[in-house]
Amino acid sequence: MNRGKVFALCLAAALSAAALTACGERTSGGTFTYEELMAKFEGDIEQNAVIRVLDNQMAVETGHLQEVLDAFNERYAEYNVQAVDANMDQYVDLEQNGPDGYGPDVLYQANDMLMRYAEGGHILPLPTEQLDIDTIPQTVMDVYKLETYGLDLYYGMPVAQQSTVLTYRKDLLPANWEEEWDDNQNGIPDMVETMNELYAYSKQVKESSSGAKYGLYMSLVDQYFNTGYLLSYGAYVFGETHDDIGLAADGAETGLDLFRDLAGVLGSTCISQNATTQVATYLTNAAGTAFCTIGTPDWLTTFQENLTATYMRDGMSEKEAAAAAKENLVVVAPPRLPKDGDIQKELTNIEEETFAPTTMGGVNAFGISSYTKYPKASLAFVKFVSEYENLKWRSEALGAVPARTDLAEELGGVSEVLSERVSEGLVYMMPSTRDTQYIWDPLSSLFNDVATDNTTRDAPVYTTKEALKGALEKLVSDIRSAMAVGDIS
């Protein structure tokens, strides 16, 4: 018994001694000059480097990434560099896997993800003087800017723009569209020009096919794209500080009401993330289940491939089918919204009564992990993929919209549409900060809630503007709680 006590006392003494030493100063980072930060990129690239490249799913699945890797390895054959597919889930968490050496060396992500890593110090600031960024608009570059050690540093090499476009099937237009669906006689079908007409057309298609077909088909729970309806009517994400969350700003409820009406005509099958992938089938099948969709331009290549396959099944030759698919899938800017938010009414003057919508946008870029053993080889790879020719290659293979304006002009089509929208200030760049991660789940819940309200709910609750305003205020308070908890923990 006695011995036990002595032992316990000794242990307690030892522990408190250790606890005291624990109170010593904690040192953190220090500051560095630009030259010091960039020193790791100086000089020839490493011999026998192996760099793991994480690209998005589409680049991997289409085989584009492998081709790029092969081309890169060939060019740097003298250094025996081996760039390989990181072969991970495209949303793998660098914060969790990087420090232990299981993350990728080079990663392709959207700006909210990359800049979250930048704030945590998980990715490297890039030597912009070595990169070809002259033709990238400053607004796009700013997305990747972060003040570190008193310096404005850029953490990503912007490659592709992300925002919303409308894609429709020209061959599915009603035969008499020029008479019936072109009130302003500008040669653009009204249902892809304004949301009111698109709503009316969707309703008509749905009713005449008794629910088997859709005019518009898109995911109602895609928080990223649907936030555009709030932004168009005056909402914003963060104001001067992150305490100022503007998603419930005056007017946002009008946008939410419009979204609710839209949900009513789309139906409950669209209240699912699946709808985002489902549309690739619906828009391109022989039956023509969907006439158009609103979403990312990244899908265009997939749409074209699927439609080509459909046409070939109908008896066209491969060449004809490919040409017809390219011809029939038209990409335009997202439809104009009514100023008063009422999409059910008939428009009399399109110019007067509607406005071009603001959409949420982002910029995808290549970044370099802080934990890479081969910064020089990684930088060489980033330089390689951001060369003009290789960006063009990427855009053509994957339908990505380039961040470079000169390339966007050359490519035309969807790239030009989106580029113009960016320069007109109609694309709201999602904030490049860690706090952005806290808005997505609450937003997703909001859109789920409101869309469900007008589709499968027996007793709808969001029938008034006040109720919608309440939902938005709840959204903001949910985001605040999420941020607060993130700070505490």
């Binding site: 072969n87 991970m88 889930d89 232990d100 299981y102 699946n274 489902q278 089938t281």
Partner: protein, 280 residues
């Protein structure tokens, strides 16, 4: 011999039993049939089903499953799963039988404490510790490593020895006493007497030890970052929902071997499971 007369109430009872059995069989069989037929759906996604079943059937899904390795490296996932399941099965069976036998046969000081500790640890579900396991596995450099999974499954199953212990409890102690009097060492007793007697139990243990890693999703999804080390469960769950047919086809190759094993060994399964439970 007395001839059985036709008795209406007995006939009614028989009819009722058959009706119920048919209903139950339908409830169990229908989802399986549905899943299998979906695998042969030519269109590939859920919404192209006509009512419950596909309009056109084709083998295309299976071709894609094994050839489109850019999208899903199914053969590799399958191989990984087989490796993990087989190795953990061998190690776990060995450990579980050894522990159960020891706890059942020997009376030593910390025996009850060990059993109680096992019970308490069992309450703590495995992946409440997910974060901790991830950290420990990174320190041991066992991320992306199939052996890491094998270790976890083996150690996890070692805690599930209670059923086997219950079985060993039913072997009368007199057998052991006789053998020990003959001068056999305890190790020899175990090998030459206990093991042959417990064949159903060993089959049961091996089967359950195989099925857990074979069908588990949580651990591999946490610990396998690199796609080339994925198991089937992680791989299939990463598929887009529009790839429903591929999911169904992939599932078939996971489920069929297990079903075959279970049906073939059902005798052992029933004996083993209940023998342990009755006198646990």
């Amino acid at each position: 011999m007395k001839r059985t007369l036709f008795r209406p109430e007995r006939a009614l009872k028989t009819a009722l039993v058959y009706l119920l059995v048919l209903l139950v069989s339908f409830l169990f069989a229908f989802p399986c049939i549905w899943l299998v037929l979906s695998a042969f759906n030519a269109e590939g996604d859920l919404l192209t089903l006509n009512g419950f079943f596909p309009e056109r059937y084709s083998l295309d899904t299976f071709r894609r499953l094994f050839t489109e390795t850019n999208k899903y490296d199914y053969p590799r996932w399958f191989g990984n799963t087989l490796f993990v399941a087989a190795v953990s099965c061998v190690i776990s069976t060995f450990l579980v039988i050894a522990v159960a036998y020891t706890i059942s046969r020997y009376r030593f000081k910390s025996r009850k404490a060990l059993m109680k500790a096992t019970l308490i640890l069992g309450i703590f579900p495995n992946f409440m510790n997910m974060t901790a396991l991830f950290v420990i596995m990174t320190q041991l450099h066992l991320i992306n490593n199939l052996w890491g999974l094998v270790l976890l499954y083996s150690s996890g199953s070692a805690m599930g020895f209670l059923v086997q212990k219950g079985f060993f409890d039913t072997i009368p102690g007199t057998i052991y006493d006789a053998a020990t009097l003959d001068g056999a060492s305890d190790f020899r007793v175990f090998v030459s007497i206990t093991l042959p007697l417990s064949k159903p139990m060993i089959v049961y243990t091996a089967l359950t030890a195989f099925v857990w890693p074979w069908a588990d999703f949580m651990l591999p999804s946490m610990l396998l970052v690199d796609k080339s080390s994925w198991t089937v469960a992680v791989g299939l769950n990463s598929l887009d929902d529009s790839e429903f047919s591929v999911f169904a086809a992939g599932s078939m190759f996971v489920a069929v071997p297990i079903i075959a094993l279970y049906v073939a060994l059902s005798k052992y399964l029933i004996e083993g499971g209940s023998a342990g439970a009755v006198k646990e």
